[in-house]
Amino acid sequence: MTLKTDPTALSRRGALGTLAAGAAAASLPMWARYADAQSAAPIRLGFQVHRTGIGAAYGRWYGRTVEAATALINAGGGINGRPVEIVAEDDGTDPKRGAEVIEKFANQHGVDVAFGPLFSHVVIGSAPRAGELKLPYFVVSEGTHVSSGMLNRYTLQPGITDVKSQVISMAPFITRTLGKKVTMIFPDYGFGYDHRDNLVPAIEAQGGTVLEKIAIPPTETSFTKYFPRIPRDTEVLYHVMVGPAVLTFVKELGEFFGGQGPQLFGFIDSLEAVAIDSPGLEFLEGSHFWEGMCRHAQPDQSAHETAYRAAIGVNDRGASLADPRDVSTYGHMFGCWETLHIIKAGMEVAGYTGPQDRAALIEAVEAMEDIPESAAHPQGTKRFNGRTHQVFGHQNISRVEGGRLVRVHRTSIEDTVYPDQVDYTQQPF
């Protein structure tokens, strides 16, 4: 084949012209959008969700909660009159992918803020990247890594309380009503270390002792081999477990003790997304659980919580209305609901119009203090600490009675407060 000049072929000049026209056409929607950005363009929220991996059960319910909260916010006129659009990305409950998801949010999707992760290793893996990209990152993880000062000014936790405040408010109840010799079982990663590092001083402050600290990897599938390390003079077994095998964990705990053994005090994490009346869990009768929000509807449930349950589609036992076998992560997922409402409130105070207002949004959230109980905050009143970027709220202790989780104690916010360990407001943007 020989080369020849074909009059119908594109000339260089012609090609350049076409390219220029194409570029102009491609950019057209861009400036067309900017022209009326304040009224019509949606606010895009990047939802980092544990859709797969060991956090999948949480991811499913965090997803449903976010969907319901977004529908409610949009029905009420959105944020600053603009509709809210959720851009969800699966992080596989993996810190490395978590950081990639943050990059994707910032560079590819161009979201306004990111939010939503629960697992602390994902948060710790992603937050530095969010800080570098100057992307506000609202986590729903309970980890004390926000208030400990480990993260950065762009990372906030306004929708859920942290482990340290939970633990210090539980310790007096444990030593007073259950016993003073405590053995703890916790997951072997960041979140579990928050329990370990905070429970020991909290129990000792109450005159008790922690006899043994047993760490179990969250990917573990069989647990009996860890239990012989529980000392025989243990009065209270404090357990908190996460991961896909929590049901096995609790079941094997029951088989291990066989109706004898110490008092049990668990964090509901050990049973999130698991029906409390599952076969093999009968031994939990009479044991106590921490709950962020009470899975089983209590007699004095507020109208806000009733509406919240209906909006997400969960029944009085915290299971899906569509499939009662599908039990929710009720003790945690309110955090997504409340976080979205904090983002809305913050954006409205800051007069948020686009990414250039991200710093103003963070300052607006930092300025929040008392958050009253409302439809936006069905879990209860809260107090936000702008310096540590951490919210404080009421904690619940429930007892299993006749297969139901019955609340026996609700702490005050003061019970959960501890001195500041960081002042993020001193960090530059």
């Binding site: 991811g59 499913r60 573990e220 599938t221 009996t224 012989p228 390390r229 049901l247 053994g261």
Partner: protein, 306 residues
């Protein structure tokens, strides 16, 4: 916990691990021995067995559902493996390197298909029977030796049944290989493929059935363990790693070696993780593999390379 009861519990836990591991690793060893194929997707066949068991027990409730799962899951997984052999491995002429890559691909396909259909959740399968048996211990009290029943020292009827079932299946497998014509043909193919072909052994059919049998053994092991563990799409990784460890220590392709190594690894995993930490158990197992590879590359029971 005192040393005695502690050791007894650790041994029991280790025996359950060893039983399931022996079944899974026997499948892997069989496939390698006869076909010289390193099946990286073996763990996914294990996982599929557990997932199918969940599906069957959802469809048919009660102990009969579980009994049905014990039959259906290995059959279906075995059939799938036969199809995979005929459509993939055969086309690669069982080339060792290329089959490794192909089975890695198969691993991801099976895992992701399970994720897309079954979902990311761990789902429990109810054991057909499960009663806790408290075990007694002798203790010298004020008035001589007495039987005590310390908390924590116990096992369940189902765990004992798993050990028994695995032993029975392994016996049956040995009888099949040693006493039947099909077993003879498989052993002949393992010993020398070309000679077997020359003697009229349908080698390709033997390969397909061996691959199916190996996968079915993994699936059966998974059905047995799933009432203890729950079915999850990522559950194949650990059995795969442990099976490789067992097969390398025992000698690739040697069934008795696999058995001994499975018991060794299973029990040491149970005992070391109870007394020290599960991580140490994994470290020691991996170290043992390294030592075996350095000092006895053919494995404890393996024959010297031909």
């Amino acid at each position: 916990m005192e040393f005695g009861p502690h050791l007894m519990l650790a041994t029991l836990e280790g025996a359950v691990t060893a039983a399931v591991l022996a079944l899974t690793a026997a499948g892997l060893s069989l496939v390698f021995g006869v076909m010289r194929v390193v099946n990286i997707a073996h763990g996914e066949f294990f996982m599929l067995g557990a997932v199918l068991a969940w599906w069957v027990t959802q469809a048919v409730a009660g102990p009969w559902g579980f009994a049905l799962a014990l039959v259906i899951a290995p059959l279906l997984v075995g059939a799938l493996a036969v199809v995979a052999d005929v459509t993939i491995l055969k086309r690669l002429s069982y080339d060792p390197e290329r089959t490794i890559v192909a089975t890695i691909g198969l691993l991801y396909i099976l895992q992701q298909l399970t994720l897309m259909t079954y979902g990311p959740d761990a789902r429990p399968v109810v054991a057909p029977f499960n009663t806790r048996i408290a075990l007694p211990w002798l203790e010298r009290g004020a008035d001589g030796w007495a039987l005590i029943w310390p908390w924590g020292l116990g096992t369940t009827t189902y765990k004992l049944a798993v050990i028994g079932a695995a032993a029975a299946v392994l016996c049956a497998l040995w009888l099949f290989l040693a006493r039947t014509r099909a077993g003879l043909v498989m052993r002949a193919t393992q010993a020398d493929r070309e000679m077997a072909t020359a003697f009229g052994v349908p080698v390709e059919r033997v390969y397909a059935l061996t691959f199916g049998l190996g996968a079915a053994l993994a699936a059966l092991a998974a059905v047995l363990i799933v009432p203890i563990q729950q079915a999850h799409y990522l559950m194949g990784a650990d059995p795969l790693l442990l099976s490789f460890i067992v097969v390398i220590i025992g000698g690739l392709g040697s069934l008795p070696g696999t058995l001994v190594a499975a018991v060794l690894i299973g029990l040491s995993d149970g005992i070391i993780s109870v007394f020290f930490s599960p991580t140490l158990a994994k470290i020691l197992a991996t170290l043992l593999v390294a030592l075996v590879l350095v000092f006895r590359p053919q494995g404890l029971f393996g024959a010297r390379g031909r």
